[in-house]
Every structure is written in C-alpha cells, then in structure tokens.
C-alpha cells in the first residue's frame, strides 16, 4: 500500500508503476517459489493425504498395495469422535484440557518472554551473553531430564512441598503430579460452593461432559505440566523478542532520554508499542503451539491423571499408534478437527486482538 502511495508522488514512478507491479509480482513469485515448493510437497501434500485418510477406515498398518487396504467410510470417523461414538466424552475432555492449557500458558509465557528479553537487552547489563544463555537453557535441556527434575521437585516429599511447608505451618503436602482436582473447583470449594450446593443445573451435559466438569479449571496435575511448559518455552520466545528489540533504532530512546523519560515510561511508550506486531506474532505462535501440546503431556502424564491431562494432540498420537486397535484414519480425523479449531482460533485472534491492524 504505502509503497504505491509514496511512489505516486514521484512523477517518474507513475509511468513505471504498472511495470513495477509486474516485476514485483514476478520477483515475489520467484522469491517464494523454493520455500513454497518444499512446503507444498512435504507438508501440504501429506496433509491432504491425511485428510483423505480421515474419510477411510485404514488401520495404518495394512499395506496400501493390498487389494482391500481400506474402504472410504465418509464422515464415520468424525461422527465417532465428535457426535455419537463411545469416546466422545474423551474427545471433549481433551478439548477442555487443551483449552485450559492454552489459556493458561500463552499469556504467561508471552509476558515472561518479553520481560526477559527487555532485561537481557539493557545497555547497563554486562555479561549479557551469560544471562541470555542462562535464560535460554531451559529451551535446550533435554525433555527427559526436565521431566525427571520436575517430577522430583513436585513429588509429594519434594523441595516444593518442603519449602511451602516451611513457610506455612498448616500446609498440607500437595500431590502436584497426581492430583486431579480442578483449580476452579478448589477455589469454589474454598468459598463453600460444591457440586451439591450449587444446584442441579451443573449436571446438565454439554457435549457429553456435564457443566460442573467443564468449569473445573485445569487440574493441579495439568497446572504443574503448564508450569513446566512455560518454563521451557519462555527462552525460545525470548529470542524472538530479542531479535525484534534490535529493530528499534537507539535514536528513538536517545530522543526520549533527552526529554527526560524514565525507564518505565520508555518501556511503556516506546518499547511496548513498537513490539506490538512481535507480540502479536508470539501470541499466534503460542496459540498454534499450545493447542498441539503433546511432548510435555506424554512425558509427565501418569496412570492417575489421564482424564485431566490428556490433550487433543495426545489423543491423536494415542489413537494412531498405541493401544489395542491403533487406527490412523481416526487419528487423522481428530487431527483435522484440531487443525480447524486452531485455524478458527488464529483467525479470531487476528481479528479481535487487533493484530491485522497493527500489521498493515
């Protein structure tokens, strides 16, 4: 847009405008071609294949050159998981868990990443390399080790409980990694509200789960996993902010300092507004990533917490590869549904959180 308007002010450019547009279009296509081809062949084609399989009954193990490899069954897999099958409640429970996870993790990791990036970008801070690397460390520490340490920290007799116990004499040790109680339930309970006192309406089932269960909040176990996720991803997002911070010309700050603006005012009125597109980008990435949370759940879930920690992506994996009758077609169907959910969430975020405006 702005290229055209500025160029229009230039008499020489007017004649060349059409030609410029054409050459831009050509340059644009040639610039995106290599990446677009790679993405198309190795991501979009497989995605379309997965979409196709989601309408079949292919187990995933029968060779495709087998004469009866699979049959096309239409929307049966979708129906089974979304509408009328036996696992519908598992699906919506996974949706609930995933939603709580997304809502809990995205804002916190974004704020932490921004703060860390701003701090390790300060001019007065020496040994920046040390601090940046230290804050980045959780992102590269192996997930096996991270989970090992988290299980130790949060175990019933572990350091977290020990510290809390030392701080408050009446503290009852919490089984952080195995407790299925929802945080909102616990909050309501502390206000004296329980399932029995609140009225029968909470027994109403919406999509196979009753309202009381929908509003449970993330369970203690899921919250622990969320804390771990925030801890590990903040460093990665910090790097994105760090890169963006270098894009703010130092002259802007220098001018502000001449005007006597405090550090806080500079952050509030310069850094934050200028980083708005980046924040928007980080939130989009965060949404896309957290909706597909799998690794952390896979490593930290245990036999007791399946119902309150299973995510949609975990369900996809489980359906595709684990258990007694793995079924790739059904897994593909769940994955496609997740895709649609994430797509809608991203569009909503772009529309209503003001990003599209910030961008243009």
């Amino acid at each position: 847009m702005s290229a055209a308007t500025t160029a229009a002010g230039n008499p020489v450019a007017i004649q060349d405008q059409a030609q410029q547009n054409r050459s831009d279009a050509f340059a644009g296509l040639s610039f995106v071609a290599p990446a677009a081809i790679v993405l198309f062949v190795f991501l979009i084609l497989p995605l379309l294949v997965a979409l196709y399989f989601s309408f079949t009954n292919w187990s995933g193990t029968r060779p495709l050159d087998h004469p009866e490899a699979y049959e096309v069954v239409g929307l049966k897999n979708y129906d089974r998981w979304l509408v009328s099958g036996r696992r519908v409640d598992d699906f919506y429970r996974a949706i609930r868990n995933t939603l709580y996870y997304v809502i809990g993790v995205v804002p916190v990791q974004t704020v932490f990443a921004l703060l860390l990036a701003v701090v390790v970008n300060q001019r007065w801070l020496t040994r920046k390399g040390f601090f940046r690397t230290a804050f980045y460390f959780p992102s590269i520490t192996s997930s096996i080790v991270v989970s090992f340490i988290f299980l130790f920290l949060f175990s019933a007799g572990g350091p977290i409980n020990a510290v809390l116990g030392a701080l408050s004499p009446n503290y009852e040790p919490v089984a952080w990694t195995t407790n299925n109680d929802g945080l909102f339930h616990l909050l309501l309970e502390s206000l004296g509200i329980t399932e029995d006192t609140v009225g029968a309406w909470v027994e109403t089932e919406i999509m196979d789960i009753d309202i009381w269960e929908w509003i449970a909040g993330p369970s203690v176990a899921l919250s622990t996993i969320m804390a771990l996720a925030i801890w590990t991803t903040t460093g990665t997002l910090m790097v994105i902010y760090l890169a963006a911070l270098q894009g703010i010309p130092s002259s802007v700050y220098e001018a502000a300092e001449v005007d006597g603006a405090t550090n806080w005012a500079q952050f509030r009125h310069i850094t934050l507004p200028l980083l708005k597109p980046t924040t928007f980008f980080v939130v989009t990435l965060g949404l896309i990533g957290t909706f597909q949370v799998f690794d952390q759940i896979y490593v930290l879930q245990n036999d007791q917490t399946g119902r309150t920690t299973t995510s949609v992506a975990y369900l996809v994996y489980n359906t595709a590869f684990e258990g007694n009758s793995p079924n790739l077609a059904e897994a593909s169907a769940i994955a496609i549904v997740l895709f649609v959910i994430i797509f809608i969430a991203t569009i909503l975020q772009r529309r209503f959180v003001g990003g599209d405006r910030a961008e243009e």
């Binding site: 187990s59 193990t61 029968r62 060779p63 175990s155 195995t178 036999d303 119902r307 007694n324 009758s325």
Partner: protein, 412 residues
Amino acid sequence: MKISRTIGLVLICAMWYTLVGIASAQDMVTLRVWTGSSSPVENEFKEAQIAAFEEANPGIDVELLISPDYGTQIRAGFASGDYAEVFTVGQFDFPQWQHDGLLAPGSMYIEAQDDIYQGLRDAFTADGELYCAAKDFSTLALLYNIDAFEAAGIDAPSADWTWNDMAAAAAATTNDDMVGFSAAADKFRWMTLFYANGADVFDMDGAVAFDSDAAIEALGFYQSFVADGTGDLPGNLNAGWNGEAFGQASAAMTIEGNWAIGYLNDTFPDLNWGVAEIPVAPNGGRGTLTFTECWAVSSRAEGAVAEAAWALVNFLTGEGEHGGHAVAAAGFGVMPARAQFADLWSETVGEEYAAFVTGAGYATAPIFPLGFGDLDAAVNEATSLVMTMEDDVADALTEAADVAREIQAEME
C-alpha cells in the same frame, strides 16, 4: 610398461570381482531383520545372535536394523508394502498385524512348538494357526522387601500365601516411612488377581464377564490397600512407577515384572529383596500376566527367502544353542520362551528369582480381541477411577463391561 601393467592388473581384478559378485549374488539371500531397541545388553545379544547365524549360514546375508522407534518405523514400512522379511511382534500388536495379513503362518515351520509355554503360544495364535515364535517373555510376581519383613517380625511369603496373608503383611509392614504395598493404577497389575480369582473378560459362552463377582473381588482387594492406608499409588510415594517406590523402600511389597531385576540391582544395590508368586486367590486359583514378543516372517517372503527367514526364526528362538538356550544363559531380565530352559535361566539369574519363571506355567497374556480398543480405554479409566477412590469398584467394572457388551452387539 609399468602403467599398462597396472591398468591390466586393475582390469583383471575388476573382472574377477565382478564374476565373484555375480556368482555370489545368485546364491546369496538377503534378509532384512527389524526390531526395536530394548536394553543395551539385549541389543548386543541380538547382534551376536545374528552374527552367529551369518557364520553358520554363509549363503544368507542378514541386515539387522535395531530401530530407535520401532512402532513408527515398521508401520511406515507396512504402509508402503516394503518391510523386513523377519521382524519382532509384540503381543498387543499381534491381532491387528495378523488381521492385516502381514505375517506368514508358522505352524508348519516353527520347531518343537509344544515346548513353548502355552500362554505364549496362545498370544500368537489366530484361528488355530500359530504365526509367530515367541522369543522370550516376562511375568509379574510379588516383590517383597526382606528387611522390612524382618523388621515387622513376619515370615517371607511362602508358595501357598493367600490374599489374606498379603493384606496382613501389608498392615504389619506399614509404618511412618513405608507403606505395605505399592499399587500402581495400571490394569496390568491388578489383573494378575483378576485371572488368579478365575475371572476373565468373556465367560465360557463368549458373553462379557468383565464385571463378574470374581472380577469385582479382585479389583476390590487391590484397591483395599489404598483404601485402608496399607498401600498407596507410586505417584504418592515420590516415585514414577512401582519399581522405583519399591527400590526406594517406600513400599514393602509390589507387583512387578522380571524387568525390575536389573533395575533394582543396578540402581538400588543395597536393597535386600525377594520374589514370590502372586498370592493364591480365595478360590485357590493362581494367575499372573505375561508379556511377550516373537519373531515373525513377512507374508511377502517367498521361496528361498521365506525358507531362509524361517531358518533364522528357528535359529533365534529354537532349541539350538543360539535360541532359547542363549536367552537363558545370557541372564538378563527376560526369560526364555521354552520350558526346557527355565532351570538354566534360574541358575544364571539366581534361584531367588525363580518365582517369575514358575508363574509362566499359569500365566495369561492379557490381550483383548481385535476391535475392542474402546474396552482398553474403558478399563484404563475404570482402573484410574477406582485407584484414586473416585468410583466404586462394581460400578466402574460394570461401566467397562458395558462398553465391551456394546462392541460385541455391534459386531454381530
């Protein structure tokens, strides 16, 4: 001159190698062998077995692939129709893989079948046909902490120990530092009691019996430890699984498999522990679960390749010195699938672990039939709800059994 002589020599060599190459290529059979990575010692063991086979069969070239993620890799191979001639099959994958026509029938080829434990043969049999030769297996047994038993002044579990004896021992060993029994919320722990008590997924007529009185009694007994405080879930004992809780001496007893032998002895060398059979059920019955893996031949192998493939399977699992005998003599966690080597295994590993192999005589491979995937999920959920005291045993089992009934009705 010198150069031309060299060229001549090179040419002759090249021709010679080409001729040899052609000649041997005609005789050589190449077998692709795929399996998953288990423990480092077992990987080395498999490599040694294959090397011995190649030495004994110069006409067969074996390409062994030990996969970092076998399930994913072999499924990709299956899907493409291009997969190994010989590969391992876990008992839970068997029904699906057999149904998908991936495995060659083996009744005609597998040697000395009667010597393989009944429970293991059952796991790999479909429609009366044995498809796959069990290579080794594990069972569950009762692990107990000898020091804790002595401290509590009670006798070590004997062969005729009953559920009541176990409950009493759990109560006696429970103190401030330790509970009597670590009870994981895992269906493959309490179902030892389920089978011991005479329960089964289906009754004699094929009707679903997952919520029979015997089943309710079994899960009820398993839950009772948590209910009365003489036991707890490993997660509540600062442990990731039963073995760890037991190793840390947070529990005096637990039900675990022979894979715990290596883990406990390596990680907790100071732990003084023993193994007994799963206690006798109130009706006098015995039971335990078995977990096994077999070597299978691809249904796509034909002619000389198929012959070589079966020769390899028999070499790896048969009566010869590199088969069951070698598994027994190697003495790592898993046990040889053939009864004739049971004593050798106990001798190698230690007589104190003999209860694991004794259990093989009455062990069941807990496999639900094909199409009962939802039952799998339902039983997991029931187990979890019961062990966290969120649901009544009978209700939870009935709910799971109803799922099975529904599936059965849909299938008819």
